[in-house]
């Protein structure tokens, strides 16, 4: 049904005239799930249930997979869009659906910066402050973004779509949603779900690559303990880091601004109330609405396409490449480092972001080869650097690719 026809029907239906012959239990059932269910909806609903199952049973990203999963179910329940506005794109007779109002936070790009505010207010950048050179690993892992961008172009996506798909490789949900909402809104559902799914699967995706690209000796290597970071450093950091990164990538002012603003609220020591709400109730509310909205945007008719399949394949690829990028760059850096300054290349894998999962995978892998080798702390530096790195990459794409 074209938009024009639908509008016409809506206008006619809304005349307030109600013909008694139109009112029958049979016609009602025809407008209920019995008459409106489509095959695709069922597939999506099952997918939503699987997500909820994984979240509860396997503890994969429950704070996002449960809202997304239930959103998928709610967004795919069958209904007749000519009678009531329910879906995330529906407006009928001037009345927007509630799901559309929720989705405005996603489509307008409003929610991701608010999430970044919360992330900033809960992140401790000490690890990064004490390991300046490990920042480079967080840069190297962003190669996943750009190779995926090229791959997307090869698969026939246009440049805006390719940029949005590429950001999946940043392993950072809100960044991916922010870029997709500006660049390729029609792919947002698939991109968001791919990003979050793979972030949940980091403990499955990364280890084989880590083993493949490192020697036994490298994996056992211990690193020098990190130094203590003073409160003043932590207060100066968000201001200076924001200035530098936003200066270089103005397209990331919005995301990085909120990230470092949140961090300043946390570290200043005089705005505890604000930091608590930024990372507490405000963040929770946004996470609920963001996840649910992303879920409702997977209506089968728009979601079940070959594009979505391509995006999932490209997403898996991007995570693998990002992991390899970080690892190999660590090995490259070792060529120039001496003695106990040498890095354990496993730490490079944490550069993909997916905080703190990737850092913990590093810890787990490291301890498999030497139980006394604790890499978590070292891995946190490239891990948070990866967030900044993908925000910069997002900023570059947002300002270079017309949209």
């Amino acid at each position: 049904m074209t938009l024009a026809t639908r509008l016409l029907t809506a206008l006619t239906a809304n005349s307030g005239e109600l013909n008694i012959n139109d009112i029958s239990f049979a016609s009602y059932l025809g407008d209920s799930g019995f008459g409106q269910l489509e095959y695709g909806n069922l597939i999506m609903i099952v997918m939503g249930i699987v997500m909820i199952y994984l979240a509860i049973k396997k503890d994969y990203e429950p704070l996002l997979l449960i809202p997304i999963g239930f959103g998928i179910i709610a967004g795919n329940m069958p209904y007749n869009p000519d009678l009531i506005p329910i879906g995330y794109l529906d407006t009928l007779g001037g009345q927007q659906s509630v799901f559309k109002m929720f989705y405005f936070g996603v489509s307008s790009g409003l929610f991701p910066p608010l999430i970044f505010l919360g992330i900033g207010a809960m992140t401790d950048f000490s690890a990064l402050l004490s390991n300046p050179k490990l920042l480079l690993l967080g840069a190297a892992a962003q190669i996943g973004i750009f190779i995926t961008l090229l791959g997307s172009l090869l698969l026939g996506f246009n440049i805006q779509e390719a940029a949005a798909i590429g950001i999946i490789g940043g392993a950072d949900g809100p960044t991916a949603i922010f870029v997709a909402s500006q660049m390729a809104p029609h792919l947002l559902g698939a991109i968001a779900i791919a990003a979050y799914s793979y972030m949940g699967l980091v403990p499955v995706i990364q280890p084989p690559i880590m083993r493949l690209l490192t020697t036994d000796e490298e994996r056992r290597r211990k690193m020098k303990p990190t130094r203590h970071v003073s409160t003043t450093e932590k207060i100066l950091f968000p201001v200076i880091a924001f200035f530098i990164t936003a200066f270089i990538a103005p397209g990331a002012i919005t995301l990085l601004g909120m990230l470092f603003f949140g961090n300043l609220l946390k570290e200043s020591g005089v705005t505890k109330r604000l930091a608590d709400s930024a990372q507490g109730s405000l963040n929770n509310i946004v996470v609920i609405l963001l996840g649910f909205s992303v879920g409702t945007s997977t209506q089968a008719r728009y979601f079940l396409t070959t594009d979505s399949i391509k995006i999932f394949v490209l997403g898996a690829l991007s995570f693998a490449i990002a992991t390899a990028g970080g690892l190999l760059f660590a090995k490259f850096m070792n060529l120039f480092l001496k003695g106990d300054n040498k890095l354990n290349p496993l730490v490079g894998a944490a550069g993909v972001s997916a905080v703190p999962d990737a850092a913990r995978v590093v810890e787990v892998e490291g301890r498999k080869y030497d139980k006394s080798n604790h890499l978590l702390m070292h891995a946190m530096a490239p891990n948070v650097a990866g967030v900044i790195g993908s925000a910069i990459a997002a900023g570059v794409l947002l300002s270079m690719v017309p949209h």
């Binding site: 999430i115 203590h228 905080v355």
Partner: protein
């Protein structure tokens, strides 16, 4: 007064018989749907119960047949939960730094502890150190 107004209203109003008929049909369909919904829901509840019980039994079976026991007689570190591992890594870290100021110590702790819970909030989950630890935690929840 209210009653008088009401009666007057009923008198004066001459609602279309057609409209009343529509109202009656609507009401019958509406009441029918409410009952249909709640009857089907009430019939599904025993199924939910059975599903839940099914899962429980399987879980119990799996546990019994499983090679990994949960009685705490494990192989040491593999039994550790996330927070315990944090504590240990922190202690080692503190040792290397030869930290003797309590404030520093506290900072280090925070650095370790934060990532566990708050990042999840932003949509990221825990990584489980190993399966045994994972199961244990999950069950104690």
């Amino acid at each position: 007064m209210a009653v008088a107004t009401l009666l007057q209203a009923v008198m004066s109003a001459t609602p279309d018989q057609q409209l009343i008929n529509i109202g009656i049909r609507l009401s019958l369909i509406g009441m029918g749907t409410v009952f249909m919904g709640l009857v089907i829901l009430s019939l599904s509840l025993p199924l939910i119960k059975r599903m839940a019980e099914g899962r429980k039994k399987t879980a119990v079976k799996e546990e019994k047949s499983g090679t990994e026991t949960e009685t705490g007689t494990g192989t040491g570190t593999e039994e550790l939960t996330g927070p315990e591992i944090v504590a240990i890594t922190t202690a080692i870290h503190a040792h290397f730094l030869k930290v003797n100021q309590m404030e520093d110590m506290k900072l280090t702790w925070e650095m370790y502890e934060r990532p566990y819970s708050p990042w999840r909030q932003a949509g990221r989950s825990k990584v489980f150190i190993d399966r045994a630890a994972f199961r244990q935690r999950n069950r104690s929840r």
